[in-house]
């Protein structure tokens, strides 16, 4: 698999604390790579290492095969980025903000109009950024990241602080970028639903470590789950545990991960045979949230 970003044993320590710990990233070229993790999981630090803003304590990161540490200028020329909040100069207009980066990248002036069209901000480009809404600032930050048509777009929490309309627009924009220009988008988020709706590949970060990394489809596959509504949920969970099935409570229902040798009918038989009244029993597709919570151990089973 050709990768846009590849890291081996990537580690960054601040004092004794490892913010990023032995991360082996492999973000494939093209498509959207969702970099998922809660706040403080090490996502932004990893992004800073990719951009060469930080030096790794150990390991290395490559962008399109080029080592970031040794060839930073070359890798930086291939990347457009938006890290944390858009770093904009409030006293300048949107167009003037873009023009600063355009000059440094030695691009023609027409490039500003192009990226403003992409983010639908041409009408407000003459206004000072200090008067922009957060959504407009995010779009301008994205426009700046798109200047020069980078091969890789690194976006750190691009939907932070946006209203629902803004989130939907940003999501649509991110999804469209690989289709339009073959750009690889590496987007970090702590919002599971966000990543689920935009990404093809997913990496799950937790406490500085990369817990899983694969295609979204593969990640959400795996053993099927059953959602069971039953009276005496505690007794049912204990019974399932005796049978070797892990159950957890979710609202009024129990969720049971079903190994290959088990069927829904067999579970039903087990519960009914123990005089439990099964009101509903339905197979359920695993969501990214399920995967994340299972991998991070944030959701302990009732019968653990």
């Amino acid at each position: 698999m050709a990768t846009a970003i590849e890291s081996t044993g990537l580690t960054k320590r601040f004092g004794a604390r490892a913010a990023v710990d032995g991360v082996d990233l492999a973000a494939p070229r093209g498509g959207v790579y969702g970099f998922l993790g809660r706040n403080g999981a090490g996502k932004t630090t990893t992004i800073r290492l990719i951009l060469g803003l930080l030096r790794p304590s150990a390991g290395e990161v490559r962008v399109f095969g080029e080592p970031v540490g040794a060839r930073r200028l070359k890798t930086a020329a291939m990347i457009g980025s938006l890290v944390e909040t858009p770093a904009l100069y409030d006293h300048l207009t949107g167009r003037e903000n873009l023009d600063l980066t355009r000059r440094i990248l030695a691009l023609p002036k027409t490039e500003i109009d192009r990226v403003l069209e992409v983010v639908d901000l041409a009408g407000a480009a003459g206004r000072r950024v200090g008067g922009y809404s957060l959504g407009m600032r995010q779009r301008l930050g994205l426009a700046r990241a798109l200047l020069g048509g980078p091969r890789l777009l690194v976006l750190d929490e691009p939907t932070n602080g946006l209203d629902p309309d803004g989130i939907r627009d940003m999501r649509r924009l991110i999804r469209s970028l690989p289709e339009q220009g073959g750009v690889t988008v590496f987007v970090s988020s702590h919002l599971l639903a966000e990543v689920e709706q935009t990404a093809d590949h997913v990496g799950l970060m937790h406490e500085g470590r990369l817990l899983a990394q694969t295609s979204l489809r593969e990640l959400k596959g795996g053993p099927a789950e059953l959602e069971i509504e039953v009276d005496e949920a505690e007794r049912a969970a204990a019974l399932l545990a005796q049978a070797g099935l892990s159950a957890r409570r979710e609202d009024a229902a129990l969720r049971v991960r079903l190994p290959a040798e088990w069927t829904a009918a067999a579970v039903n038989r087990l519960l009914v045979g123990a005089d439990l009244a099964v009101q509903r029993l339905a197979p359920r597709q695993r969501s990214l949230e399920d995967v994340y919570l299972d991998l991070t151990g944030a959701r302990a089973p009732l019968n653990a």
């Binding site: 930080l54 200028l73 890290v83 904009l88 100069y89 300048l92 000059r103």
Partner: protein
């Protein structure tokens, strides 16, 4: 490099930093003007010019440099613009050198504005109040030499202040440094060691002892160049956390 300087200049548009560069020499000129209006006895042009130079060197220059470097650095710190700027395909030390050159350029412009402003204030005072009389030749060349020596000697102070302002995200550190340096300079004006104290070096351009003035100028200028190299090496390798 020219592109980066151009970019830094473009950032100054509508900025407080630019306003400060106009206001600081204008304040000194205004004070000179009011002092001239209040005089009942004739004074020489030389004394009038020295008054402006003293105000500039002792107080206005170090405080303005402190404020200017803080404002220039905060333009990047406040919106966390380093995240973007230092991720671009450009050598980092060049980014910081461009900032230093622009700040030094602004200080040079302020010195020129002060030069014109002080003499303009004297001429205006003479015209507005017939009683005001400034005698003797107008010391244009002498004053230009003094202000040029102050500027060159101030290089070390400018670089030290800029270094602190760029290094620390909080503006408090460079502000305290500037205030403390200015206060110490005023309190220890006559100290022999003053020729080595960055905030006092510009004042030494006015010293009657030419040797002392020359030593101060050398320390300020060559020390400033050395500090500039050290700053570029340090900030060029500094991580953006």
């Amino acid at each position: 490099m020219l592109t980066l300087i151009h970019v830094e200049l473009a950032k100054l548009k509508r900025s407080l930093a630019l306003l400060l560069c106009v206001a600081a020499p204008a304040c000194v000129a205004a004070l000179c003007f009011m002092m001239a209006l209040r005089r009942d006895t004739p004074a020489t042009w030389e004394l009038f010019a020295v008054n402006g130079e003293v105000m500039w060197a002792y107080f206005m220059l170090p405080m303005t440099v402190t404020a200017l470097t803080v404002l220039v650095a905060q333009m990047e710190h406040a919106p966390k613009a380093w995240n973007h700027l230092l991720a671009l395909p450009v050598l980092r030390w060049k980014v910081f050198l461009a900032k230093a050159l622009v700040v030094l350029g602004l200080v040079a412009l302020m010195s020129v504005a002060l030069y014109g402003g002080v003499f303009g204030a004297g001429l205006l005072a003479e015209r507005l109040k017939p009683g005001v009389q400034l005698t003797g030749p107008i010391p244009l060349a002498h004053s230009a030499r003094i202000l040029a020596a102050m500027y060159a000697g101030a290089l070390l102070m400018v670089v030290v202040q800029l270094w602190a302002a760029l290094r620390f995200r909080s503006f408090v550190v460079p502000l305290i440094l500037g205030i403390a340096g200015t206060f110490a300079a005023v309190a220890a004006t006559a100290a022999e060691e003053g020729v080595f104290f960055p905030w006092l070096i510009p004042v030494n351009a006015l010293a009657h002892d030419p040797e002392r003035a020359a030593v101060a100028l050398s320390v300020g200028f060559f020390g400033g160049l050395a500090a500039l190299v050290a700053m570029l090496l340090h900030l060029g390798r500094h991580e953006v956390v």
